[in-house]
Amino acid sequence: MKLNRHQKAGVVILILFVAFVLFSELSVSKTEINNWENPLYWNKYPKKANPVWFSIFREQVPTTVLSPSEASKVGEEYYLFTYVYVHRYSRPPNNIVFDRIDPGYYIIEITRPDGIKIRIYDDELKEGVNLNTEPKMSMQIFSAMREQLNLKEEDRAILTPMKILFAKDVNFATLEGAYKIEVLCNCDKPPQVIVQGEAYGLLGTDNYGRDIWVGFVKSMRNTLYLALVTSVIIVVLGVLIGSISGYFDNELSKVVTFLLEVLTALPVLPILIVITWVISTQGMGEKVSVPPLKFMLLLAFLLMGKFAKTIRTITIKEKAKEYIMVEVSLGASGVYILRRHIGPVILEHALRHFTFLMPRIVALISLFGFFGMIPGTNWGSFMIEAMEQGALYGSKWWWILSPGAAMAFLSLGFTLLALSPSYEEEGIEAWLS
């Protein structure tokens, strides 16, 4: 098969798309993917953060996950872990989070670049803690910097602990340089220290602190999986039903043809929603769970009508050709003719139709996802959450644009690849399908 210039471009775009999907899959961990719908998991991440590449347009303090630069044993039971954070921005970070805490006694000290050492915590810890919400930490920072920054009692309510900790002078200019964080504890493993900035990840974070990139990858995986399998089912069902009902001209084929017309006249959206709801499982106060295979079969069944009708028309046209009639008069069976002569013609059409169908199903899944009844996280539910969290009016265009841009890229690839089946070749029936 020789590809023309457009089709080659289409193949390149689709290869790039597949490479993008693979890269995306590798860029996120399984734990993050599994916890996308669990807001508690994302507690430690900055909320409503911008994407990291935003720093190209204006300065953004990125979120940094620190690893201990030193670890040493102190006495029999205690360990000292040292972390170094270098701050080079004109604004302070938003928060410092101490996560993955092994329950025990903790002494946490921060040494500023100007040498001031603040003991921010000296007590038992059972779970993660952060500077903004832990009153003991904010009190320690305020007391330690009170004289240096000439702070008054009312400033405690006005200024955040981070602003005070990173303040250079009484004008609250940010003190740049290396901040040393020392954690002394009777624990077995070092806590994770996260300096939360204004930017995080490729697509920022949402109101719960969830990494939007993780949601994008999860919804892309689900949408493509559902679309691919549904398209294959539609093509297989359409070819089987269309060719058999087209070749064998009997009462049953007439009934099948009529049923196909009924399928095309069904209001797909409400029927799909309600049957999906019927097959879903949802206990009291439990989340809705839809079995993906049942959903795909249902969607394929509802959408295959037009395609099966087209295959039927092609089969009838082929059957009327002279060489087929000669084969029949020579005693060839219907199954043989379908497999040997008509099969290749309809399979070629089916293959072309697949390139049309796949992006259409991706679009439809995101359309149906708008009503929240598509299994798992998909581009539709991803967009719904973006809208519900005010991404559109909050000008978080990267959140809204990302799934649409991916769909447009996929559609463009298939468009270029399938450019050759022309109107003259396939006629009105193919266009109608």
Partner: protein, 343 residues
């Protein structure tokens, strides 16, 4: 023109089958609703009325059933529900209509009018653009290929994403058109109200048109190309008949048959897309009502929870199916007037 009895009978047959499927689906939904109600009641009784729960448990054990199964059976009996799915569907539909009549805040007639108005106006606009542009580009093959590519390209993009783009650019960034709603609040009077509604409808209509118009243009252009190859058209050109007359008298009439078939096929897709756009733009048409009949919530620690309002949902589904049937019928009749062979 002879009345197309056969076609109308076929369409009626299809419509009846669609109604049967909707009713059966309603029956299935009714069964699930009662089952869910039984499960919820049993959990509530366990805490609020332990004595009654204990009695239920004893009776259920005697009949070798679980408490939920036993309670479900009793509930089905008490509600007078039929075991036949189809009849159970009719019972739910009847109950839905009764509840819908009582619901004062649901204005179905208005929703149907808005839906039909926006859809038909969009369709009319699409037809005008496609006929004008399609006939013009019929002889320019490279341009036509580009339009066909656009048609395939837009086929893979959800219409409401286009709507999001339009709102982002024209409503939020440049504040030219309103982002949602059917009219400003408080509503204006007279001509001002009409202008205000039109202003609110520009983005939804532009979205529908921009998604579907390319396929229509391509169809018109290809059909016009075919017509130009016909001997009688070549003869007319040779005779010096003006192009405008050829287009108006012959080509438009002939492509009208294909175009009406195509419109009938595309109307279903347009209706589906419109329902989502209606909900997105809060136009108060059938889409918004349909969305409101399913309430989807994200609850932390639980996930997505869906609650269902059948009294709103099934009448809406029947109305949507009826609209589709009505439009198909009208298009078939138009086809009949355009081409007597169809009748």
């Amino acid at each position: 023109m002879k009345f197309p009895y056969k076609t109308v009978a076929r369409l009626f047959g299809i419509y009846i089958c669609v109604l049967i499927i909707i009713t059966t689906t309603a029956g299935l939904a009714n069964g699930k609703l009662v089952k869910m109600e039984a499960e919820q009641d049993v959990i509530t009784l366990q805490f609020r009325n332990p004595a009654f729960y204990e009695l239920l448990r004893e009776n259920a054990t005697k009949e070798n059933k679980t408490v939920v199964q036993y309670y479900h059976e009793k509930l089905v009996e008490a509600k007078g529900l039929n075991t036949n799915v189809f009849i159970r569907g009719i019972q739910l539909l009847k109950q839905s209509w009764d509840e819908l009549k009582m619901a004062k805040n649901v204005r179905l007639g208005r929703a149907v009018l808005i839906t039909l108005g926006v859809l038909l106006f969009s369709l009319l606009l699409i037809l005008c653009i496609s006929i004008t542009v399609g006939m013009k580009i019929a002889t320019k093959s490279s341009f036509l290929n580009f339009i066909e590519s656009l048609a395939r390209f837009f086929n893979g993009i959800p219409s409401w994403w286009i709507a999001v783009l339009f709102v982002f650019i024209f409503a939020i960034k440049y504040n030219i058109f309103p982002a949602s709603g059917l009219m400003s609040m408080p509503p204006e009077d007279g001509f001002g109200l009409a202008l205000d509604i039109l202003k609110h409808l520009i983005l939804p209509i532009a979205t529908i048109v921009s998604v579907f118009v390319w396929e229509f243009i391509a169809i018109v252009a290809r059909e016009t190309q075919k017509e130009f190859e016909e001997v009688y058209i070549i003869t007319e050109i040779a005779k010096g008949v003006p192009n405008a007359v050829i287009y108006w008298k012959h080509i438009l009439k002939n492509i009208g048959i294909t175009l009406s078939s195509f419109t009938a096929q595309k109307f279903g897709e347009m209706l589906t897309d419109y329902l989502v756009l209606d909900a997105f733009f809060s136009l108060q048409g059938l889409g918004l009502l349909l969305k409101n009949s399913f309430v989807r919530e994200v609850i932390p620690n639980v996930g997505v929870v869906v609650s269902f309002r059948p009294y709103l949902f099934f009448p809406l589904t029947i109305i949507i199916a009826t609209l589709f049937f009505g439009i198909s019928l009208v298009i078939e009749l138009i086809k009949g007037t355009l081409d007597p062979r169809v009748t």
